[in-house]
Amino acid sequence: MRHEDDHCEELLAAYVLGACPDGEARAIAEHLARCARCATMAQRLRQRTDVLLVDVPARAPTPTVKDRVMGPVRAEAALFEAAREGAYEPTRSGRPRPNRDRRSLVRLRPPVRVVATALASVLLLVAVGGGLLAGGLGSGAPKENVVLTQIQRTLPGGATVALEIRGGRAELQVRGMQSPGAGRIYQVWVRKDRQVPQPAGAALAVDARGAARARLLADVRRFDQVLVTSEPAGGSPLPTRVPVLEVRTSV
């Protein structure tokens, strides 16, 4: 429609500059999906905004930024590698299987078992409202379950933590948490029935304000606890320190 085309054309520059409010941007995106002429114009203008992305002076950040990036990256890479090899799946005895791959990153640090009864510095209970977890396991479960956390205690210094579960996937969020220190990361684990913790496939990269969030790759429905420990930047195959957080996903 001509009128619609004219209206879209008028807004295209604002659209590619990101200056349209959400509703307007959605309407333009929908129009572009069905109007080749406007889509071509948008593409041409978008190439100009690409110029703006590089049209800034390059600057080096402080070296700590690299630590904050590469810490979680190395940890997650090691966890994926371990998960691929199944090297740290607990056996019936609760002890991890030995890792036979000498190249594995996770072998660089000797595994240290966390004593199951060791008290976490903070214990948080996640209240499972309305049978949400149980519902998530059932065949008639809704597609998206949200478990709201009910924090019993907060971390010393006022830090807070929240665990949100949708289906079997969980996202852990912390605020006001102290940095784990140079060369260390917060690594996330899952555990069931006080067995040996398993990597949750996530690390918390705490920013300068102490905030971080991480999506757990592990299906939390198979476990009843989420733990966080401070580990060397490369990550550990098993926790090497007592947890700084222990979150129960069932009551």
Binding site: E10, A13, C20, L52, V54, D55, V65, V69, V73, A205
Partner: protein, 191 residues
């Protein structure tokens, strides 16, 4: 199979991204080293606080790592893709800050820089971070440069810019369009 660092450093960005998609941290580190100055430069261009810029830089790179498998070379080169992710993260952060605790600070800063009204426009626009303005934008008339900078780097919507500059919305949209149209020409001249 993982590659040695010297071997990785000889690979193109696109080849490194394929390894990153396969969760190769060594390949990702090479990409980080290659592009961090551009990414952080964009962060500093968009936010004034060093801490905030570093947070966005960190967030952007972790996002690149975690979405490495979604990189599509057909949509542009690796650096542009990384910078787009960074830009999106920075805009999100800027808008969050503006909506919450920093709202007054941003508004005051803008009001100081942009007293409003077409007549004082030119004088005010001259004060917009002239030192940070890149080569491509320098050749544009101030009025066009300003609306592009305020939208693209500072995250203001067209209506916010029109309100604060006390300009008709159509004028702001027109300046955005003319400015973008001229950008390519400026670059060609400078090259």
């Amino acid at each position: 199979m993982r590659h040695a660092p010297d071997e990785l450093s000889r690979l193109s960005d696109e080849k490194l991204m394929r390894l990153v998609a396969d969760l190769d941290a060594g390949a990702f580190e090479i990409l980080y080293d290659r592009h961090v100055a551009a990414v952080y430069g964009l962060c500093r261009r968009m936010v004034r606080s060093t801490a905030q810029a570093e947070d966005i830089c960190q967030d952007a790179f972790l996002s690149v790592w975690r979405s490495g498998g979604r990189y599509d070379p057909k949509l542009g080169n690796v650096r542009s893709w990384m910078l787009s992710i960074t830009h999106n993260r920075a805009i999100d952060q800027i808008r969050r800050s503006r909506r919450h605790d920093d709202r007054q600070i941003h508004d005051d800063a803008l009001a100081e820089r942009m007293p409003g009204g077409d007549s004082t426009d030119g004088e005010a626009l001259d004060r917009i971070q002239a030192d940070a303005t890149g080569r491509a934008l320098r050749g544009l008339p101030d009025s066009q440069r300003a609306v592009i900078e305020l939208s693209f780097y500072s995250g203001y919507s067209h209506t916010e810019i029109a309100d604060r500059l006390e300009l008709p919305l159509g004028t702001v949209k027109g300046r955005m369009r003319l400015g973008l149209e001229k950008l390519q020409g400026q670059l060609s001249k400078a090259a």
